[in-house]
Amino acid sequence: METYQAEYDKDGFLPETFWKTPQRAVPGRPLQRIAENEVMSGSSYQQFQASVNDAWDLGDDEIISGISETKISKAISHTVALNVINSHRNSTKNDHKPDAKLDGNSVKSSQEEVVSLKKSEVRKTGSVSGPLRHYPGRPRPVRPSALIPREESSESKLERFQQVLESSVLDLDELKQLSWSGIPVKARAVTWRLLAGYLPANAERRREILERKRADYKHLVRQYYDAEREEETYRQIHIDIPRMSPLVALFQQITVQVMFERILYIWAIRHPASGYVQGINDLVTPFFMVFLQEAAPEKELDNFPLDTLSEELRDTIEADSFWCLSKFLDSIQDNYIFAQLGIQYKVNQLKELIRRVDLSLHEHLQSHGVDYLQFSFRWMNNLLTREIPLPCTIRLWDTYLAESDGFATFQLYVCAAFLLHWRERLLRERDFQGLMILLQNVPTQNWTDSNISMLVAEAYRLKFAFADAPNHLHNAGKSDR
């Protein structure tokens, strides 16, 4: 990670110079300057515009002209900067003061990354073939140091969380900004409750609300679970729970399974439009683990005997998991309604997005008969919980919960970033079978938080590039040449 930081320092980026020399190369992106020149010169601007007329609506020339003058709107640059700073903080060793200079650096680099993303699209969508196979902003290869958990940076981060969390009226925006790049273990449970909208921002009301909600949940258990149950729903949940995490002893305990069963059954009965859909069970697990971690700090959780916790603590874990899951699922309920229309829609968006940003990968998949639904359905349905290790899912959800406009949209970009992450391997596969097997079994066993930080940073860049131009994702087919 030091190397990573050193690259930045060596290039001597200073906030002042950035604004004047936007065409400066971005570390690790050697071909930047070429792209810069193409866009900067007047004649190649025409070329540029012609080459991307399918990619950019007229309304987007704000962004395009912004490339030459670097007049990206302040609000946008601010958010991008903050997020990239956050991800940098998380993915680099935090051995320097979080001062203005760092912010300046990150502002600049984030700007350039965004700009370079635009240009890479120019090349890709405009079929301006060149040696630029590298996808700007793509997660860099994992360096050995990235595999070492970076708890050392969490001390100062935890302090910042504590400051925010202890203020009498919570600054939710600040909490989101802090959380986006990952939440320290000690602050996670309470932060998740706040971000999920389960706990109120007003600190004085929290205790009262928690008590009421936990009592409400007990009431729901009596009303629905302890009463006569809807057979089909119960049967399906009952089949699925024992096989959720078959290799983890924690989840083989009857106590735990019954907790999951109640949470899922009550949620399903209270949401008849979707009911229980296989996969939702996997979405309880992160909440459960985070609240268990809070109740049993410093314990090895994989084998943790839940019966050693007091009944009160167990009830708390269960009730809080239930309410947070409910809040969390509110924004994605269309994923689970009849015909799973929400997912079908997002799969189409994913396809269109990949076609825009990585035509060669898209064509590779298409030419071998791989349909996006075949592999990304599970990604969307289970929010990638089946594709990455549980600790990574929890880290990913820090970001999901902190996404200001809800994670439903953001998840699309995460899936896109996830697919792009495997592009080189995918391009090496020569047939349908090879592609499908890889896509269903992507090797993420050794992934750590830093992989997730890179994944969400990439997702953020994609979102930034496309969020202001939603038509790009909607005009699938129309703009085809």
Binding site: I239, R243, G279, N281, L373, N381, D431, F432, Q433, I437
Partner: protein, 231 residues
């Protein structure tokens, strides 16, 4: 999967369908990887695996689509029936409801699959003798009436898993090779670039060693082909 996976004479797409929890994924992992996980995770949407077998000196590659059993997934999974030449319709011999639902699954296939699809009824979990709730005779009779092949398997102790897949693939192969005898240029609606080759009809010999099978239709695959065809 150390062999050259891309060398094969035939590519057949087969789907695994049936209620949730009857053991579709376990049958698949037993057949393709010879593995059994006592508690494998529920299948979300569809999952894919492949294995090649030899029939009459020809390499047949089975492209097997394992589908989620839950009703809610029907809209997604039915899309995968298209192009399938075979279906293993699985129920759990210890769960009567999963057997009752076989008719629904047959309707599902009739509505979405190729009309010539070959269907094998599979009673899985035959190791659960003490919990059995559907007799072999009952299921066999049902299969006969509906023109299906039938076999009982146990993915757990491997009983009949190999023969189940072998048998349906062999049957498909016979039909395809006979069809090719009649109309050589015909290409099966399998996957893209399906390299179906012309083969001479090889009077069925291998079926005779299928002694362990309880297959009611294997003596005349073509008749079952025709039955489903006219249904």
């Amino acid at each position: 999967m150390g062999t050259r996976e891309d060398e094969y004479d035939y590519l057949f797409k087969v789907v695994l369908i049936g209620d949730s929890g009857v053991g579709k994924s376990s049958l698949l992992s037993r057949f393709t990887r010879n593995e059994f996980n006592l508690e494998s995770k529920s299948t979300i949407g569809v999952e894919f695996a492949t294995r090649s077998i030899e029939v009459d000196g020809k390499t047949i590659k089975a492209q097997i689509w394992d589908t989620a059993g839950q009703e809610r997934y029907r809209a997604i999974t039915s899309a995968y029936y298209r192009g399938a030449v075979g279906a293993l319709l699985v129920y759990d011999i210890a769960k009567h409801l999963s057997y009752e639902n076989v008719e629904r699954w047959l309707r599902e296939l009739r509505d979405h699959a190729d009309q010539n699809i070959l269907i094998m009824l599979v009673g899985n979990k035959s190791d659960l003798r003490h919990l059995r709730s559907i007799t072999t005779e009952e299921a066999k009779a049902f299969a006969e009436t509906n023109g299906l092949s039938f076999i009982e398997t146990s993915a757990l102790d491997s009983t009949n898993v190999e023969p189940a897949f072998q048998n349906i693939l062999t049957e498909i192969y016979r039909i395809v090779s006979q069809k090719q005898m009649r109309d050589p240029p015909e290409v099966l609606p399998v996957n893209t670039n399906c390299p179906i080759k012309y083969v001479e009809e090889n009077k069925r010999k291998t079926t005779q060693d299928n002694h362990s099978l309880t297959c009611c239709q294997q003596h005349d695959a073509i008749s079952s082909w025709t039955v489903t065809n006219s249904a």
